[in-house]
Symmetry: C2
Subunit: 407 residues, 2 copies
Amino acid sequence: MARPEMIASGPGSRALVVDIVRSSGPISRVELTQATGLTQPSISNIVRHLLETGVLRESGRVASTGGKPRTLLEINPTALYAVGIQLGFEAMTFVAAGAGGGTVARQLVDGAAVAEPQDVVERLAAQFASFIDIAGISVDTIAGVGVVVPGPLSPAGGTMFRSPTLRRWEGFPLLERLAALLPVPVLLDNDAAAAAVGEFWTRRIARTETFATVYMGTGIGAGVVLDGALLRGSSSNAAELGHMTIDADGVACSCGNVGCVERYAAPAAVLSDAGTAPRRFAGLGLEFTEHTTGSDFDRLARAAVNGHEAARGLLEHSADRLAAAVVSFNNVFDLDSIVLAGPSFAIAGSMYARAARARIEQTSFARQAHGTTIEIAANPRDSAAIGAAALVLQSSVAPGHGPALHP
Amino acid sequence: MARPEMIASGPGSRALVVDIVRSSGPISRVELTQATGLTQPSISNIVRHLLETGVLRESGRVASTGGKPRTLLEINPTALYAVGIQLGFEAMTFVAAGAGGGTVARQLVDGAAVAEPQDVVERLAAQFASFIDIAGISVDTIAGVGVVVPGPLSPAGGTMFRSPTLRRWEGFPLLERLAALLPVPVLLDNDAAAAAVGEFWTRRIARTETFATVYMGTGIGAGVVLDGALLRGSSSNAAELGHMTIDADGVACSCGNVGCVERYAAPAAVLSDAGTAPRRFAGLGLEFTEHTTGSDFDRLARAAVNGHEAARGLLEHSADRLAAAVVSFNNVFDLDSIVLAGPSFAIAGSMYARAARARIEQTSFARQAHGTTIEIAANPRDSAAIGAAALVLQSSVAPGHGPALHP
């Protein structure tokens, strides 16, 4: 599957302008001309359109050397909203974000669990109505809803295939059903990929940076942002860090490969290790069922950061295995910065950050050429939902830059 | 280190036009307008400039529905040449390519071995003069010289650091000295990265394809082409496939990491394995010195394809280890196609292709979404030199798209 041909004019240039305003903060038209390489008339046209549609607003003037004062432009945070929904096994997270990327509302409800997909989608649509009602956001100002899921997506982008936790969703026409039930346009994407766009958008990362998020929820994924756009690959299934082999003679993975880092570092692997010596974790209230993987892992992580020796040993082993894969990942992308995002970094994220930072500093291929910063998301649990909203903002400002909004 | 800001007009659009003509073959201005999304006046301007500078030429007319016949445009293969030079330990390869990417001259001379870098650069410059003289190419028609080397490059791009085979070149101001001695502009790049651009250019791969080469010379590298441009990362050290870990508890690598696939699959590793049972390889004339790694590996590879059981076992093990890393690499890039390039695939490349193809078909993450084709370069030994020439062509047609020509 090939990507559509890049459009060198129109939406691409508009996205470039929005992106520079987003990352630079208040900026004049003259500076935009310099930063983009576009002509002055092009900048004037694009800015006029963005002011009319409310994406940008004028924010004041600065004195100019020997001319009239320059008007500054900035993102208009309140004219346009996007809603992001992360659909997971244990929870559904709703967030609403303004065009600047800031979260203005948040809600957590029960996840899909083992319910019928159609029932879950109907519940999601009802919840959406109550969510924007409580948040006081008019549906007319919502550019769209981004829904993100853990599973790999089919090339057409409308269904999941081979989802380890949401098995009965395989082949369910998710995008089509969402579009039929929601009153605004909707897009569907992968949670780890979305998180990368969310961090890129809300952290004001410059588009010239080579940036990635490493995402850990139930599984392990990643997203890479190059020149301001998400790396999608041939079928929107790029950046599957969790399925990088760290032991070519290792254990089989549900994906069909062997020795995938997910099998050694993800919550299920950590809990499986804990299950081999349950007495050492007796006081922690672990339930060891498939449905409690997330909360069991949180309990272990909390014990680890509180000094429980055995729990700490398990988490450090997981962090060490993940760090090995992160170095390989960095060796193929040559990154400026990495953010750790996703619910499984919410409690013990700093153990993972420290392990990855040390490995990269000591062993990364290009360490003599440049450093790679490693940080933790401001709110790891919400990263994917915020990213889903950011994808909507990107898509409504610059159609064709990512998955399309439907209808 | 960040990349320079992408320019949304000018060279970018010109590169897009050249690239579509290159990959599509003869094409009309109207079709170019449709394929690029640029306006008709923009296409007219760009095409006029490219005709004037000789990059494109008119190649005939086709009847049009209800209008005057359309003139077709194609790459002009003889107006402009580029020279590519691969500087290796055992050999220096010179190629000259026309703007269409076809090789018009080729020469192989002694490599850098352990000579003083300055002496080697002077010999290279003298050889360049004799090479274009014998090939009958006027220096006025040469857009530039691309020189490619195996080592990682410093961020400024002018020197190598930590080159396993060319140790005394570390920190030598290679680009500066080349620019001082050669009568045409010069650029410097990594051999594996260059090979990717060479294959992309000469195979007429569409820019919408997610494409990579896996390169094996003394070491193992790769190059990834996204939207027609090489993935460079933060410091031009992206795509280091050879330094992906396939055993997180494995052997130390000279790069500072552990378990890198290069330590299990590259020629030195294969020869090291052979060295543990030298009697099994007695008839093959292996010399087992650092300087003969390339020719010793060729002898083993030849024996393997000719049915020598022990040699075949070694090569198959190497191919199997490399295939494990190629799957991880594919899982993070989600590739449409892969080409195996570089001298170490020259003899037994099909063993490597078969192993990688089988692994990808059986275990790649997105195998249910799409296939990934794996082919061998038409001339694996020349891939990097041809790529060096292609980089010059790309750079002279679209400055800013890759490393700059100096001066």
